[in-house]
């Protein structure tokens, strides 16, 4: 059996552009300040943690494909380029899996508003960017040597379906490296939809990306050990039951193993996952408590945070729990493989704070 290693990590989040910013925020452990999104027809705005403007402006934004691209595409590309940062030269065959739940809602919203107002005048520039496949297309054009590309939709656990697909491509010898990115962007429509399910939920935006490969020598010292089956929610399988089935496929854990979960501080939404992981014997990290409900971006952040923490050497393993909101629960386990640290990692070890736990 081929082994699969984590070669690099990338992130864009409300904490900033890059893994160091994500790490610093999680290290501090304090929920980031809440921003506001105006909702038409309401006095009270919606709560959200927004991605700050990048400083300096990333060079790739000057590429022709990115001049009109959506923020979603910018996040995907920035995270992917960071994850590939230490790989030189790039191999001839890259695989790319982009995972989205809501997708390009900013441009879709703008375009449909134009359609309703005056369809004949609706912008032909906006429409192509509303297509789910646009971020993957732009990134593939930027990288130039992408041989396999797919965009997957679904709830946040799809990020790990994407990782499984990438691992298949690698182990079948179809690509040399594979990027898996999860991303979402901020918009009042998205926050409004989530508000209907939990009034206290704070949305977040950004992207998380892992670069996977088969060479231990090139890895960040982290190996993909297991991805559970997809436990799909059905009328006969509740979200809580699916979370328990997911946990049952993973090792019991230990005092030296990290659990990176998807708890966000919303009691009702968190309950099934909290119950499934009751009695976890080791430390816990909950990135969404700090960064917000980033949907597919959040499962990307979880994966990045778990691998980053593992690469620092504080843990013997890291377990990832993604209990998606309306499709499935999938878990993953990463272990240290003894290789060098990720090139995108800073020398400091993460210190898990109370809020982050």
């Amino acid at each position: 059996m081929n082994r699969v290693f984590v070669i690099g990590l990338g992130a864009v989040s409300p904490a900033g552009w890059g893994v160091p910013a994500l790490r610093a925020a999680l290290d501090a452990g304090e929920p980031l300040p809440i921003g506001r999104i105006e909702r038409p027809g309401w006095d009270r705005p919606l709560n959200a943690r927004l991605v700050p403007e990048p400083s300096p402006r990333p060079a790739f934004l000057a590429h022709a494909r990115f001049r009109r691209a959506s923020p979603l595409t910018h996040y995907v590309a920035a995270a992917a380029l960071e994850a590939l940062g230490g790989v030189q030269p790039l191999p001839p065959r890259l695989g790319l899996v982009v995972c989205l739940q809501i997708g390009c809602v900013q441009y879709s919203h703008r375009f449909y508003k134009e359609v309703l107002e005056s369809p004949a005048a609706a912008s032909p520039i906006l429409f192509p960017e509303t297509v789910f496949a646009a971020p993957a297309s732009h990134l593939a054009a930027l990288l130039g040597n992408v041989s396999l590309v797919t965009t997957l939709l679904g709830d946040p656990a799809v990020f790990l379906q994407g990782a499984a697909l990438a691992a298949d491509w690698l182990t079948e010898g179809r690509v040399d490296l594979a990027l898996v990115a999860g991303a979402e962007e901020a918009n009042w429509l998205r926050s409004d939809a989530i508000w209907h399910f939990d009034h206290g939920c704070v949305t977040g935006a950004g992207a998380g990306c892992v670069c996977l490969g088969l060479e231990a020598g090139a890895s960040g010292g982290v190996e993909l050990s297991a991805l559970t089956g997809a436990q799909t929610y059905m009328s006969s399988i509740s979200r809580g039951r699916a979370a328990q089935l997911m946990r049952s496929q993973l090792p019991a854990g230990s005092a030296t193993e990290l659990l990176c979960d998807g708890l966000q501080g919303c009691r009702r939404l968190d309950a099934p996952e909290r119950a499934a992981w009751q009695g976890w014997p080791g430390p816990r990290l909950s990135p969404k408590r700090v960064l917000g409900e980033g949907l597919m971006a959040a499962s990307g952040w979880q994966c990045v945070a778990a691998c980053d923490a593992l690469a620092r050497g504080d843990f013997t393993g890291a377990t990832l729990s993604v209990v998606g909101c309306n499709q499935q629960a999938i878990g993953a386990r990463f272990v240290r493989s003894g290789g060098p640290f990720c090139l995108s990692c800073s020398p400091e070890s993460p210190k898990l704070s109370a809020a982050g736990r």
Partner: protein, 413 residues
């Protein structure tokens, strides 16, 4: 476990299609669609589903859906919540499931391709959120059912199976990629059977989008015609039951055809335009043939992506010319979008079912509206209904954004 995968010994299993369901503007079901495709009927008419009075174009291929859905395990309350896309998907899945004779099961993957999912509900959500911001009734349901994974779960609940649901959104190649991924899952030993397909309903946003790009033909598309002037939008769904040949044989299932090859490539030329020489389409066809160990000379029919836009058809024709070489002159090609329009995420799956029809019933689907074939086509366009011996049929899908998929089917004796 999704990883690590079980180690597979021996050659990959052969993959049989034992069920197929289809909904298009021709109607719902294999028979009515086979008749429509065989005759090359055109199904374009003025759009009635939303207001197009201020659009440049007014035509599309709308599907007339039955008033009631076939009996399934879904409760009436859930059925009442289904949008148009879900209904089409469920109709197609129900037909495929019944034809395959599958029984409810656990761990049966569902792989679907779509570009819009429940966009109709998304549009309604937006209109209500803006127009009546304090009226929340129905909004949570719209937010939930807008998402394609919910539509996938509806299919699983209705037919009584459970397992992973994978949603591919590679634009117009989504349906082809969904069947291709299902084929890879079976060949790789990750599943012994998979329900796979694609679907998309006609929506105002998408229609207006193509209209804004000025890519919709005002009078109905004519793929590969020298005077073609754009595509036509359609809607529909197709679902195929795929399983190992061994499983199908063990059950004594009626085999509609074999899926023997799949190619998937990326065209980085432009977001909305293919490479002029069809590099990625060519590579996808070559990949599919290599996987199936067949030569272009062996292929009896190509169901082209053939949207009817000047750029797509020129690019695809160039790719077919290069791929088939000297054999192009004897290779029948047609685009069934000439009859039912472009079904976007549903296109690849619907056209896969057309290939199964061709192999099963031994006829070629014509494009009856082509008047002057574009001279770039070195291959004969099928323009009149015809019976034909057909053992191998190939289907191309070329997506917005650059995703390309080719599926290759073989007649089962």
């Amino acid at each position: 476990m999704l990883f690590p995968r079980p180690v597979r010994n021996g050659p990959p299993p052969r993959v049989a299609a034992t069920g197929a369901g289809i909904v298009t503007a021709y109607g719902s079901g294999w028979r009515v669609n086979a008749e429509g495709f065989r005759a090359g009927r055109t199904a374009f008419r003025p759009v009635t589903l939303f207001d197009v009075s201020r659009q440049r174009s007014k035509l599309a291929a709308e599907a007339d859906l039955p008033d009631t859905l076939p009996p399934t395990r879904l409760p009436a309350r859930q059925i009442s919540r289904l949008d148009r896309a879900s209904r089409m998907l469920l109709l197609a899945a129900h037909e495929a499931w019944g034809q395959a004779g599958w029984e409810p099961a656990e761990d049966l993957p569902l792989v679907l391709g779509t570009t819009s999912g429940g966009m109709l509900l998304g549009e309604e959500y937006f209109k209500r959120a803006v127009g009546s911001p304090r009226a929340h009734r129905g909004q949570p349901t719209r937010a939930l059912h807008y998402q394609p994974q919910t539509q996938g779960r509806v299919v699983a609940e209705a037919l009584g199976f459970s397992g992973p649901i994978i949603i591919i959104a590679n634009a117009c190649a989504s349906g082809g990629n969904a069947l291709g991924l299902a084929w890879e899952m079976i060949r790789g030993g990750r599943a012994s059977r998979v329900l796979a397909g694609g679907y998309d309903a006609l929506t105002q946003l998408v229609y207006a989008g193509f209209d804004a790009l000025q890519t919709i033909s005002p009078g109905g598309c004519r793929p590969f015609d020298a005077h073609r002037d754009g595509l036509s939008i359609g809607e529909g769904a197709a679902v195929v039951a795929l399983e190992t040949l061994e499983s199908a044989g063990r059950r004594g299932a009626d085999i509609l055809g074999e899926l023997i090859g799949y190619g998937s490539t990326m065209d980085c030329h432009h977001l909305t335009q293919p490479h002029p020489e069809g590099e990625a389409a060519l590579a996808a066809m070559r990949q599919a043939c290599a996987a199936a160990q067949v030569h272009p000379a062996d292929i009896d029919y190509v169901n082209a992506h053939g949207t009817g836009t000047p750029q797509n058809d020129s690019s695809e024709a160039a790719a077919i010319n290069r791929w088939a070489g000297r054999h192009a002159a004897g290779l029948p090609v047609s685009s069934t979008k000439a009859g039912i329009g472009h079904l976007l995420g549903g296109a690849g799956a619907v056209e896969a079912v057309v290939c199964l029809m061709v192999l099963r019933e031994q006829w070629l689907p014509p494009e009856t509206t082509v008047e002057t074939p574009d001279p770039i086509c070195r291959f004969p366009l099928v323009r009149q209904p015809a019976d034909a011996r057909c053992d191998l049929a190939l289907s191309n899908s070329i997506g917005f954004g650059g995703a390309n998929a080719t599926l290759l089917f073989r007649r089962f004796p």
